[in-house]
């Protein structure tokens, strides 16, 4: 796909949303890289956890540049800090030092409101343990981000449209036949598909996947990665996937290794 088309899409995304510029207001370009090329960049990212008064450094200066439309796998051993990196990218946590930029704008120092909007509309997230709400059906779980971004009145007015959109994404991840089921009635692979539909319903720019296959068998995991691949190819979705499974990691366009809290590019 041409880069011109990409910018078009990005412009539509930011313009089409009322609260879009929230996170852009306080941001200033942190890198001189052209905006269109890199969608997500980090520089000098550090993060440590305190445990019994001892600082345990997890990330020790991560510099990462992720191109728009790229399928990146971040691999590393348990405890290498890959999940922490993903949480930082998804603004679920804040770095001790260093910066994170999204579309050229700093996002690591955003206020809670900006982070909420970012997580709700621009990032999609999937997790190892799927993290579906057990009280809600497949369809309701998938439509949840839209419920969060719209108030009751607006949601109810457009409920039909939104439900159609959820159905569209559920169909896309291959789960159109289980709309009324609760998570506990679904298999692991199906739950992960629901989680993907949920992550994609607000048409995010970036999908952050935290060990999406970690809890699945080889075959199911492979299917999930296939879906990710096709989304990356057809929807031009930027995907950052954290995994410790090297076989799956090689499926990605680019493999980044995380060793001792630092990035080593391998491919």
């Amino acid at each position: 796909m041409s880069s011109g088309l990409r910018t078009n899409r990005s412009a539509r995304l930011t313009k089409g949303r009322g609260e879009g510029p929230h996170f852009q207001r306080s941001a200033r370009p942190a890198s001189t890289e052209p905006i269109s090329e890199y969608i997500l960049t980090t520089s000098g990212l550090e993060k440590s956890y305190r445990k019994d008064k001892i600082n345990i450094p997890v990330l020790r200066g991560v510099d990462l540049k992720i191109r728009d439309g790229e399928f990146t796998a971040i691999a590393g051993q348990s405890g290498s800090g890959k999940s922490t990196l993903l949480h930082l990218l998804g603004t679920l946590d804040t770095p001790d030092s260093g910066t994170i930029c999204f579309e050229g704008n700093r996002i690591d120092n955003l206020g809670p409101k900006g982070r909420d909007v970012l997580r709700n509309r621009h990032f999609g997230m999937i997790f190892q343990f799927y993290h579906l709400l057990p009280e809600l059906t497949t369809l309701e779980n998938a439509v949840l981000p839209l419920m969060i971004s719209h108030n009751t009145f607006r949601f109810l007015r457009n409920a039909k449209k939104y439900r159609e959109r959820a159905k569209y994404w559920l169909d896309k991840v291959g789960l159109s036949h289980r709309l009324k089921h609760r998570p506990q009635e679904l298999s692991g692979g199906e739950m992960q598909r629901v989680a993907m539909a949920r992550a994609l319903i607000s048409s995010p720019r970036v999908l952050l996947a935290d060990e999406p296959t970690g809890n699945l068998d080889q075959q199911t995991g492979g299917e999930i990665v296939d879906v990710l691949r096709s989304l990356n190819g057809r929807e031009n979705l930027t995907i950052v996937m954290v995994t410790h499974d090297m076989v799956l990691a090689t499926e990605a366009d680019r493999l980044v290794r995380l060793v001792d809290g630092r990035v080593t590019e391998s491919r």
């Binding site: 409101k113 909420d116 997580r119 809600l136 949840l144 969060i148 971004s149």
Partner: protein
């Protein structure tokens, strides 16, 4: 939208939370029942207290009373203006009542009240408590034929004539007996009473003639508890046993006006009984015509013919401020210059009303504490639910839900629980109040004990009044407590760090 959805799902799936609001429900229900019954009691009591007392009572401390009540009433009307609806002069005096029960004289201390039959009915509800329906319509202190109600049969004019006829027949028999025994001693028989040595024989009271005895004396209306004893019969049913009934004669002794007072005494004929169901009144008050009492006590000025009164009862217009009117009169007749005492009916029954009010307040405080305790139950349950839902909170936050949004899930949850709890409690309470007499009957049947002993309480049915405003306040308070109890857990949920919440197992 997700707040409402999750909230409704939590409501439907988490029954432990519903269990925690049962106490809210019970608290609301009991509060409504207690308040309705207390309001019913109070209203009933007020009606009875007020019924005889009228709105304002203007009393004179002196024995001689207010020399010219008409003049005073005119002044009062000038002071209070249009607020005065009606006024009536009274004479209140302590008195001793005596009547014969099976040849034994029974005496009772009572308060004798002389009333002006024309104006008294305008001021107080006294006449509605009378037993005879004609007297209720218009009381003129004349003895009526029967019709005092089934428990007072026989009574009235016919009863009186029959009773007196029997007494006379009995007396005749006694006389005949005496005459027969007198035949045995002829020398006594021969003596002429007029020529006897006894100087008082000529002026000795003759036995009253039949006609004069048949003629009723001045009428008197007795409180029902003066004239009767309420007790249980052998079967345990409550029954009134009448010592004297309409048609019987009673003898009253009371002090005259003036100093030192002399005791005067006269016969009165009971013409009716009244039952206000306030034992204090029913056991103490007897009513006679004002003029007769004034005349007997020497309260009528021989020159002007104006009768004095010891009190003036005033009825004010509906909605008039009693205390303001009292204060106005007190300002006009300050206690250091006049020997008048001006009170509203509430002042006069102050201790009783205050005690009941205190009881209601205390009960409300205690019951509200129950609901407050229920609030802590909600707090604990909610903390548990928040801990259980920690991961879900992390998920919601990772999807972009704001802290405020997460908080409002639990606040809405608390609010809905409060609504459900107090709503069900309200329905329960109202159903209980509406059917309270049936429930009381059932309890009586089950336990064999009467809930309200009719020898003590004068009502057959438990009176209840539902004040919508009170109900609204109770429900509002309960909902508020549920919401307040959910604030802390909701805050905790809102403050959860998304990463830690997601990691939570």
């Amino acid at each position: 939208m997700y707040k409402l959805l999750l909230c409704s799902r939590y409501l439907r799936t988490r029954y432990i939370a519903l269990a925690s609001i049962i106490s809210v429900m019970l608290g609301v229900a009991t509060m409504i029942v207690v308040n309705s019954v207390m309001a019913g009691f109070q209203d009933e009591m007020h009606r009875r207290l007020h019924g005889i007392l009228s709105d304002l009572v203007f009393e004179s401390h002196g024995v001689e009373g207010i020399a010219n009540p008409d003049e005073l009433m005119k002044e009062i009307r000038e002071t209070l203006g249009d607020e005065v609806v009606a006024m009536t002069p009274n004479v209140h005096i302590p008195s001793m009542l005596a009547f014969k029960v099976r040849d034994q004289w029974i005496t009772k201390p009572i308060t004798l009240i002389g009333i002006d039959t024309k104006s008294y009915a305008d001021v107080s509800d006294f006449s509605t408590f009378l037993l005879h329906p004609d007297n209720r319509a218009r009381l003129d202190f004349s003895l009526r034929d029967g019709g005092f109600g089934s428990r007072l049969e026989p009574a009235g004019k016919a009863y009186r004539q029959r009773r007196l006829a029997m007494e006379l027949a009995y007396q005749d028999q006694i006389e005949q007996m005496v005459a027969l025994t007198a035949d045995v001693s002829p020398e006594e028989d021969a003596t002429d009473p007029a020529a006897s040595d006894d100087p008082f024989a000529a002026i000795a009271p003759k036995a009253p003639s039949v006609e004069s005895m048949m003629e009723p004396h001045t009428g008197i209306v007795l409180g029902i508890s003066i004239a009767s004893i309420r007790q249980r019969d052998s079967e345990g049913d409550v029954a009134d046993y009448f010592l004297c009934r309409p048609g019987d004669d009673v003898r009253l002794t009371f002090p005259t006006a003036g100093m030192p007072p002399d005791a005067v005494s006269d016969y009165f004929t009971v013409v009716d009984l009244y039952e206000s169901k306030m034992s204090e009144y029913d056991a103490n008050f007897a009513f006679v015509p004002l003029e007769k009492l004034q005349w007997l006590r020497g309260m009528i000025d021989p020159k002007t013919g104006v009768g004095a009164a010891t009190a003036i009862q005033i009825k004010l217009a509906d909605g008039a401020d009693l205390n303001a009117a009292r204060d106005k009169l007190q300002a006009k007749y300050p206690p250091h210059l006049f020997s008048y005492r001006i009170q509203t009916w509430k002042d006069m029954q102050g201790p009783l009303l205050a005690a009941v009010q205190m009881e209601t307040t205390l009960l409300n405080i205690l019951l509200f504490l129950i609901i407050a305790v229920a609030g802590f139950g909600i707090l604990a349950t909610f903390f548990m639910i928040v801990v259980e839902k920690t991961k879900d909170i992390g998920i919601l936050k990772s999807l972009g839900a704001s802290s405020r949004g997460v908080m409002s899930i639990f606040m809405t949850y608390g609010f809905s629980l409060g609504i459900v709890g107090s709503g069900v409690g309200m329905i329960l309470g109202l159903v209980f109040v509406v059917n309270i007499n049936r429930i009381a009957a059932l309890v009586e049947q089950l336990t064999g004990r009467e809930v309200f002993d009719p020898t003590i309480y004068y009502f057959q049915k438990i009176p209840t009044i539902i004040h919508p405003l009170t109900v609204a306040w109770i429900v509002l308070g309960a909902v508020l407590i549920a919401v307040i109890a959910s604030v802390l857990p909701a805050l905790r949920a809102a403050r959860l760090h998304p990463v830690e919440a997601l990691r939570y197992e």
